[in-house]
């Protein structure tokens, strides 16, 4: 196989994995990159008074 094509396919596979991982994280993990990240963000809904 053409060496260039082989490398391109490898790059494609790696990119595909990264992309799928990002999609997975989007739906399963909270993105904290913009706020510094800690575990205290989640205010359970029941604790928020109705006027808030």
């Amino acid at each position: 196989m053409d060496i260039q094509l082989f490398i391109v396919i490898l790059i494609g596979l790696v990119t595909g994995i990264i992309l799928l991982r990002q999609v997975w994280h989007f739906f399963t993990r909270k993105d904290n990159s913009y706020c510094g990240g800690c575990n205290m963000c989640e205010l359970p809904k029941k604790d928020i008074p109705s006027n808030l």
Partner: protein, 835 residues
Amino acid sequence: MRLSELQTGQKAYITKVNGSGAFRKRILEMGFVRGEEVKSVLNAPLKDPIKYEIMEYEVSLRRSEAVMVEIAMLAEEARKNGMYTDDLPATDDSPLSALADNENRGGLRRRHRAGYHHTNEKNIKVALLGNPNSGKTSIFNLASGAHERVGNYSGVTVNAKEGTLKHNGYTFTLVDLPGTYSLSAYTPEELYARKYMLEEKPDVIVNVVSASALERNLYLTTELLDLQVPMVIALNMYDELQESGRTFDHAKFSTLINTPIVPTVGKRGEGIPELLEKVIAVYLAKEREPVQIPYGRVLEKSITIMERELMQREVENWQMPLRYVCVKLLEGDKEVEGRIHVLPGHEQIFVRRDKERTYIEKLLREDPESAFTNARYGFIAGGLKETLTEKIHFAEKTKLLDSIVTNKYLGFPLFFLFLWIMFEATFRLGNYPMEWIEWLVAALGNLIRNNMAEGPLKALIVDGIVGGVGGVIVFLPNIVILYLFIAFMEDSGYMARAAFIMDKLMHKIGLHGKSFIPLIMGFGCNVPAIMATRTIESRSSRMITMLIVPFMSCSARLPVYILFVGAFFPARASLVLLGLYAFGILIAALTARLFRRTLFREEETPFVMELPPYRMPTLKAIVTHMWDRSRQYLQKMGGPILVASIVIWFLGYFPQDRQRDAAFKTASAQVESQFSQNEISHSERNIQLADIAHARNTAHQENSYIGRIGKFMVPVMRPLGFDWKISVSLLSGMAAKEIVISTMGVLYAGDSEDQQSLQTRLQAETYPDGSPVFTPLVITGFLLFVLIYFPCIATIAAIKEESHSWKWALFSVFYSTGLAWLIALVVHQVGSLLV
């Protein structure tokens, strides 16, 4: 007389605060208590809101809210205005302070209490708590080496940030909490701070107190004293207190409240080691003797009765002192009431509570909420009277600047002038380094092009990576310059003024000036702007603000504008940029009005906003701000932009059609053959070869996967004048706006022999009939589409997080994209009729 009737420059005493609910509690806590002196400083350009000075800080109130505060003129002011002076309070001291002083002189009762038991002796969990804009994050950054966002306005921190540091063998886990005026929770970030305090139980609390507005800041301290938590007070911005010529005997005040006080200057790091030493000392103290706020005979009696009432119940599990629970119950705190409701025999408790409330109202002639607030401020006033001297030097800087930037004639022109200068600098100044980076990208592209064997890897590197990432990276200088201006606006204190002058206009669209701060922040990035909506008290106003923030043109959209404006409207670049931003604001305003009338019909909330003094931003703060943004932008290049460029290239490169390629090769060979037989000239040969190359590229792209996706979109996008490449670019831009450019960089590959700038490639792009793809109408529609359709996936995720609902996140996607499509359609169709 009402506060709204007070003329600019006049002073008066507050006699009563009317109204009810959260607004009343909030302004009471901010110092609008009986007997306090208040001064009307100035009106906003549109006569509303009004800036008042109280307790040595400045706050803005709308006229409709100032009406609720009853005042009595000072004798000297009344004399100036020819009023009768009978029954006016004396000017030398407020009745409240006198009352409080008498009570305070009775001595502070102290109660023995066992110290906290620490599980890990060398790890200390420290929470930074204080009023908004008291400098908590500056201390946090300096102590922990973090680079969290700081700014000279309230509500910069909306989430807890954690950082660690080591000092004298101890490991500190610092938690920077959002600012809060009290432990009564009205906004989500205040609720969050309170929950953290009560549930996470940090080992030591560092109460950051701004020395420039000591009296108001110490109100939160009195609540923390009630809560009997291990605490150290950081007397921050101590330099400002010294500059005003005052002296504060903080050692004496510290003894009075039995809590260590350490003067600090957060921005320079002064006092931080001493602060950490005190934290260790408090942490190691086996016993503490927290002071009790004396509330006066009447309130103390009611507290004792309620303590007796609750003594036998299971309130000790709540991890709050019994006295604190009783005070909050008498104040009518909703959360404590909710907890009481689940106790057996709660009816009896409420009957007793109501009886005590009536007793307080009858004897003190004010409701318990005001009575407790007054007593706390009385306690503070008593303590400060003995320790804090009067101001000698009055800082006129803030007054002078405010008289200009909030002037009724100059306020708005200066604001728009500032924005214009910002865009002019972003475009013109940014253009020079942009050209240098463009040259470097082109040189790199040509270097690879000329030295690598033909093949898919070469095409990926040159067309995919250099074309895609290189197309976006050139805008780094523009982004840095934009952030320089935003950092200046945030750090100087002008941000709060912009909200102040815009309040009346915001009022017209059903919001208030406070919503303007997230909107301005949206110029930088929509994600923190959506998070900043937490500072807005009313849920309906918060939701509307959240949904209109995406119309604020973020810095990710700026490269798209600069690319097109630079290529097609270079002469009027700044005006076009300003026009785009202004159009975004207009759309936001119209949307807010529409939503207020249809989706969120609740009444809007009052406008109570602190106006911080102007502070000269430090070079370090500005450079840090710009560096952080540059780093984030470059990280984006190596992450999402790179991945997107590779994906778009793959979709554009495959599938390969050998037969079609062979046909084009044959056609090229024929031209070469004609040239070698002298049938055509050299220039004719070049033209024909270029035509064949163009036709081959076009045929290949149209039949590639991305071409098929684009063709699928064409029926929807064609009425807007967009071809399939523009459509695909917009589709990929849904992940992040910069990807619009990287996709164009890949799709508009241009001359295969020479790397040209993307601007040049776009200018040269034509349909097969030779007509230009990018006409003024198409460009206008395209820029407006980019402005209005939803900014990125991260923003949608932020809307989902903040609204606690996917419904609103999806609503935002469909509303903004639908609106973008409609506006681009109108521009193209109506424009085609006129042009």
